[in-house]
Symmetry: C2
Subunit: 180 residues, 2 copies
């Protein structure tokens, strides 16, 4: 499938609702569980997505489109959410993510990005030159990957309860060495 | 985490809404894509979950609770949905899944399953003896695994569009030999 801005925005628009359906008012047994040390719980995932809204996707797109002579992105702190959200409720994070995402998609839409814009480049601090198109595609894939992570982490909590079904339900053994 | 009936039903209740948020009115570029031959598209996943509602989880629970002398489950046809849904729209499948799931959870609730019931056994055609608790836990994990699958399949459609981000977004390379 080739990158398409409208189809990408359609997927990005869905994520807050998906997380609300998955995690709204859920027991902390599900939302605070993880799959190993230094990995994200579903609660952490929502916080990490908020960090992306505030510091990654739109700020980096802006740097590319501003067209300065040195369009270098700020590094992305993957653990910013830990301190930031220590006292927060999951309900308030879900609401915040929805508001930030809606506002960021409005910003993106307001730019009326062209095909030529999608080929403009910025410099990622570790990956080097990337295009706006790659950045926006990565935003979509990043969302989907973290939805997969949240449900995988939840599934793993029942690994000890499914008895002989384990080989039929590979989600409980995916990522034996978890990457947060 | 130990099996808990209420916490399990809470997760099971969420799946139709999650699939509706993820797939409702989505472009077929996303919903009909797969990750390899003989693997499920998101459309197939919804059909497969409907099959589970009609032929697996509740029918098998019923066999266990009926307490007959030979509580053997029918085999589960993982490809029943292919012919069944060939002419169906995704919208109608999403609606059907929601109705079947709601009705099945009502049935499950009406049984007032006890701790002793959860330890009752049936015979799985290939796995042998399983308890009702394992069956119900497998239902939860099965849902979560198929949510993970649907979003993974979608993410993989953009594998060629994310450029140097690929090593940072492992969802596009998960399950290199896909299991449907």
């Amino acid at each position: 499938m080739r990158f398409d801005l409208d189809l990408s925005m359609d997927v990005l628009r869905r994520s807050p609702g998906i997380f609300l359906e998955l995690l709204g008012n859920i027991d902390e047994g599900w939302s605070r569980a993880a799959e190993g040390p230094e990995t994200f719980s579903p609660f952490d995932v929502v916080g990490h997505l908020i960090d992306g809204e505030e510091t990654d996707w739109i700020p980096r797109s802006r740097i590319i489109l501003a067209g300065g002579t040195n369009p270098v992105f700020e590094p992305y702190d993957r653990f910013r959410h830990r301190d930031r959200n220590a006292q927060r409720s999951l309900a308030s994070l879900l609401q915040e993510f929805a508001a930030l995402r809606a506002s960021n998609l409005e910003v993106l839409g307001s730019w009326h990005v062209t095909g030529a814009d999608l080929d403009r480049q910025g410099t990622h601090p570790s990956l080097g030159l990337v295009t706006l198109k790659q950045l926006l595609a990565a935003w979509v894939v990043h969302d989907l990957g973290h939805i997969a992570q949240a449900v995988r982490v939840m599934a793993k909590q029942y690994r000890g309860e499914i008895g002989p079904w384990e080989p039929y339900l590979p989600v409980v053994t995916d990522r034996p060495v978890p990457r947060s």
